[in-house]
């Protein structure tokens, strides 16, 4: 027996979690009894947010961006995040990120996959696809990976995990793309068509018993089932009460966060949203990448855009008991120089909450006396996997027999254990 024959796919799903009864009671008819496994919301901050102006400020450093006390004694964040400062008890701040890459084009795919681009000569799947693949259920009606923003889309590849783990891309309140019958057709028309399709293709599917014809037939059936599913209401934001709409706010990021919570509640394992207010862009600056007009853009546009929706999301998840099982990640592709103007992949900050993460902690940083070791990309991904109950040592075996670790370096990566 050689090496190749010894390699085996480890395909077992990790489905762990706790029952979900209190929610079932509240939303009878919309959900069915289901075991609660972990889920994840990625709040993507394209362009690279300044740690000094968000979650790791230093007194006297940037005028008009003073550190302000939070609901957790001893931890200070920027004064322009007043609502987030009230959510500090949920949040763990990783302030010693050290990721070595300060170029958007390569740092974005790196932070979204956990691997430096093309490491080992292959493309790597994005975090959402990895989680979707781990938690995918064959009979799930809703998609496993929903992306509510275009920002960073070009890096969201499922790579070797296959197209079925690609993100469903839509916008808040817009529902599942293409889920309604084409203009002029009803669901009944469609049913008549699929009945004919079924009759005409039955012979073909039976004659050629390979995987492909049957898989296509099944996929069409599942698509049709989704079109009729009551679970589509998970995409309907008009069902959310007025007070929640106002808590999250009317902005794109606010609506995305509200949509994300609704999807997570309905059982979608991974939702990606992005805070990228168009008003932040101008000459020399796009999204969080403000090389010019740095301080006014942060103060007037970016920080207000971030504060209210993110705080509302954490509060809402927490009230519903969903934060216990939902990992919320706040991250960009790198941090910035202390004045916020330039790219800097050293000593920058990622914030995480939920899914067993102990809130109210800050690892290292400008105002914490106890330092902390540098946390690299693989360590960060190992931390995500730990929170999601996914074995960081798991391997996927590629078609050519090559094993690829789900986290770069496998068990050698060091999760930030102190936040659990």
């Amino acid at each position: 027996m050689n090496r190749r024959q010894m390699l085996k796919t480890t395909g077992a799903f990790l489905v762990a979690g706790i029952p979900w009864f209190h929610l079932l009671a509240a939303r009878a008819g919309e959900t069915e009894q289901t075991r609660r496994r972990k889920s994840c919301i990625l709040l993507w901050m394209p362009g690279g947010p300044s740690q000094a102006h968000t979650f790791d400020p230093r007194p006297g450093e940037n005028e008009g961006f003073a550190p302000a006390p939070t609901s957790v004694p001893g931890i200070q964040i920027c004064e322009h995040l007043p609502k987030m400062s009230q959510q500090m008890r949920h949040l763990a701040l990783l302030r010693t990120m050290e990721t070595r890459d300060g170029t958007h084009d390569s740092a974005q795919p790196m932070m979204l996959t956990g691997y430096r681009p093309n490491a080992g000569g292959i493309r790597h799947p994005t975090l959402g696809s990895v989680v979707a693949c781990e938690f995918a259920q064959a009979d799930a009606e809703l998609p496993n990976f929903v992306c509510l923003s275009q920002a960073g889309m070009e890096h969201l590849t499922p790579a070797y995990l296959g197209a079925r783990h690609a993100p469903f891309v839509t916008a808040p309140g817009q529902g599942v793309p293409d889920v309604n019958p084409a203009a002029g057709l009803t669901l009944d028309d469609l049913q008549q068509r699929t009945a004919l399709l079924d009759r005409l293709s039955r012979d073909f599917v039976q004659r050629y018993p390979g995987q492909a014809p049957a898989a296509h037939a099944t996929t069409l059936q599942r698509a049709e089932r989704l079109m009729r599913s009551s679970r589509l209401s998970a995409f309907d934001l008009t069902r959310e009460p007025h007070y929640l709409h106002s808590a999250y706010g009317p902005t794109s990021f606010g609506q995305q966060c509200l949509q994300a919570r609704r999807l997570i509640e309905a059982g979608v394992p991974f939702v990606q949203v992005a805070c990228a207010p168009p008003e932040a862009s101008g000459p020399g600056r796009t999204q969080w990448d403000c090389h010019t007009e740095t301080q006014p853009t942060l103060r007037n546009v970016l920080l207000p855009a971030l504060d209210r929706p993110m705080a509302a999301l954490l509060e809402d998840l927490s009230v519903r008991g969903l934060l216990e099982t939902t990992l919320v990640i706040w991250m960009g592709e790198f941090g910035r120089s202390r004045n916020g103007q330039n790219h800097n992949p050293r000593n920058w900050c990622v914030a995480v909450a939920g899914a067993g993460v102990r809130g109210g902690v800050a690892m290292g940083g400008a105002t914490t006396p106890n330092g902390y070791r540098p946390v690299n990309t693989a360590d960060l991904y190992a931390t995500f996997m730990k929170a999601l109950d996914i074995d960081q040592g798991k391997e996927h075996v590629l078609r050519n027999g090559r094993p690829i670790n789900i986290v770069d370096g496998g068990m050698r990566a060091n999760p930030v254990n102190e936040i659990f």
Partner: protein, 547 residues
């Protein structure tokens, strides 16, 4: 002068190879080669006591070979002619006709673009001109050795630079190029040796990988300096890269940093596997399992590399190409995976791959010759319906696999049937590179499958893609086609037969006709009925499968 001499020496070397008796065997009759291949395959089946399925019917063969060699569905008239012809040689004639058409080159160009596009994750290049160029090379019958040399030696911004451009990180990446050459042209996962000793071929060490990469150490991407020319060009410079030097604190001012020297000619540093900024050794340009290259201070390093790569004496080059071609038709090669032709991974039919490799070299690396040999085999012409006793056979070629038309190819087929879509244009992209409109992305999702040598018999689409096809893509695109159908004034039977010939290259059975008649009656209005029927036929597994 030195450079001219090198080229002269290489030409001399090449002409000696041509004349050498070892490689100058005559090109044989493909039908005879096919018979030999069949003997090898059949004797393996007999040994394993596995029966072979019978030959496929004409309709299945017609659709299969047309899609494989031209990427196109036969027209209804061509299909009817072929089905009705009583000529005993008609399959062989069809094969020859298909290889003569320009669509042949286009199909194989697109096959290669699908492979390369997956590696183009940084989206540095667009394949439009490359497709045209490669199709023309195939159509003119240029040898595969010549084609690969053109790609590896590409300069300026010619169409053939596409291959190297898919290996750009910030500049042409020597390590990435070496991995791509290994996987695509040599059937080897050389990149395993990028960071450590190769796990299946212990003889290959990091020095071997980086020794190959060193040939690309002086190949650079530069902004065009010529007036009127825009964009980036590939050039060979006469200067070696700078050494990485000791690690410096980024806060050190520029004038306080240590001076870094140029590397010696023909070398490249081996980076630490965990930190690209640290060098752990120095590799000298060296052919795989061969000698160190004699490289001067000046001139292209790529030329001797390309000559070594595509030489008939390279034990991997021709064999990998033949294995890949076989897999193109059978969904698996003699050696699998296609990029793992390693010592511990034996071929399923060693005599067959040896024979085809010999033929390929003897024919001057002619794709068409190998294709003729493969498509003339009984094995290729078999049905994909299993018979008792061979249901579970997956590697002895007792029956053909049912393959799935690839994503990009499927979109082509829809266009062939329905005509070019003249609907509203998709919105143009705005802002940063890669900010593609939603519309385009969802089509891309259909196109961008596993990204890693997925098998052609594997179905990779999910519900997202199904919804898009069912509810948007097909309904939009079939409108004009259905309107024509209704206007045509043909009888219902005639229309149904034409649709079957057009999409499936066969005539409908009596049961199918009856089912369709009932459906059309139920739908009432002909426009409504035919819209439903066309939708059903295009969404059926039979349309996207190649049995």
């Amino acid at each position: 002068m030195k450079r001219a001499f090198t080229i002269f020496a290489m030409l001399l070397f090449a002409s000696l190879l041509q004349a050498s008796p070892l490689w100058s065997q005559e090109v044989r009759d493909p039908v005879k080669v096919a018979a030999e291949l069949d003997r090898v395959i059949d004797s393996k089946l007999r040994e394993a006591k596995i029966p072979a399925s019978s030959l496929s019917d004409d309709a299945t063969f017609l659709r299969r070979v047309s899609l494989d060699l031209s990427g196109r569905l036969p027209t209804p008239a061509q299909a009817a002619d072929f089905l009705d012809s009583k000529d005993g040689q008609k399959r062989q004639q069809l094969l020859e006709n298909l290889l003569k058409q320009p669509e042949y080159g286009k199909r194989f160009a697109r096959y290669w673009i699908e492979l390369l596009a997956k590696r183009n994750d940084m989206q540095n290049a667009f394949p439009g001109f490359f497709e045209k160029w490669l199709a023309e090379e195939f159509n003119q019958g240029k040898g595969w050795d010549h084609i690969v040399r053109e790609m590896v030696l590409a300069k300026d911004n010619t169409p053939q630079t596409y291959f190297l451009m898919t290996n750009v990180e910030r500049d042409i990446s020597p390590s990435r190029t070496t991995s791509s050459v290994g996987a695509l042209f040599l059937g080897q996962q050389l990149q395993c040796a990028e960071c450590h000793r190769h796990p299946s071929n212990r003889a290959w060490k990091r020095e071997d990988f980086w020794g190959l990469a060193a040939f690309f150490g002086r190949t650079k991407l530069e902004n065009s300096k010529e007036k009127g020319k825009q964009g980036r060009m590939i050039v060979d410079v006469d200067v070696s890269p700078l050494e990485k030097g000791p690690k410096v604190d980024p806060k050190t001012p520029k004038d306080k940093r240590p001076v870094r020297n140029l590397l010696p000619a023909g070398t490249l540093e081996i980076p630490d596997a965990n930190d690209n900024a640290i060098a752990v050794g120095l590799a000298t340009a060296k052919y795989l399992e061969g000698d160190k290259a004699k490289l001067g201070d000046k001139g292209s390093y790529r030329e001797p590399y390309a000559a070594w790569l595509t030489s008939p004496k390279n034990p991997y080059f021709a064999r990998a190409a033949v294995n890949r071609l076989w897999a193109y038709f059978f969904a698996r090669g003699f050696v699998n995976p296609l990029d793992a032709m390693e010592p511990d991974n034996a071929a399923s039919h060693p005599e067959a791959i040896d024979l085809l490799t010999k033929e390929f070299i003897a024919s001057g690396f002619d794709y068409r010759h190998v294709i003729r040999c493969i498509c003339s085999t009984q094995a290729y012409q078999r049905s994909s319906q299993a018979v008792k006793g061979n249901e579970s056979d997956q590697n002895l070629f007792s029956h053909m696999p049912v393959r799935v038309v690839s994503g990009p190819h499927l979109l082509e087929l829809y266009e062939q049937v329905l005509g070019k879509y003249k609907g509203p244009q998709e919105k143009s992209s705005k802002g940063r590179k890669g900010a593609v409109p939603l519309d385009k992305q969802s089509t891309d999702v259909l196109v961008d499958t596993a990204g890693y040598d997925e098998r052609p018999d594997e179905y990779t689409l999910g519900i997202t893609q199904a919804l898009r096809l069912m509810n948007r893509y097909l309904p939009e695109r079939q409108q004009a086609f259905v309107a024509e159908l209704v206007k045509s004034g043909k009888s219902q039977d005639e229309i149904v037969e034409q649709l079957y010939l057009k999409m499936y290259s066969r005539r409908p059975t009596a049961t199918e006709r009856a089912d369709i008649r009932a459906f059309l009656q139920q739908q009432g209005e002909p426009a409504r009925g035919y819209a439903g029927l066309v939708w059903v036929l295009l969404n059926s597994p039979e349309f996207m499968a190649i049995p």
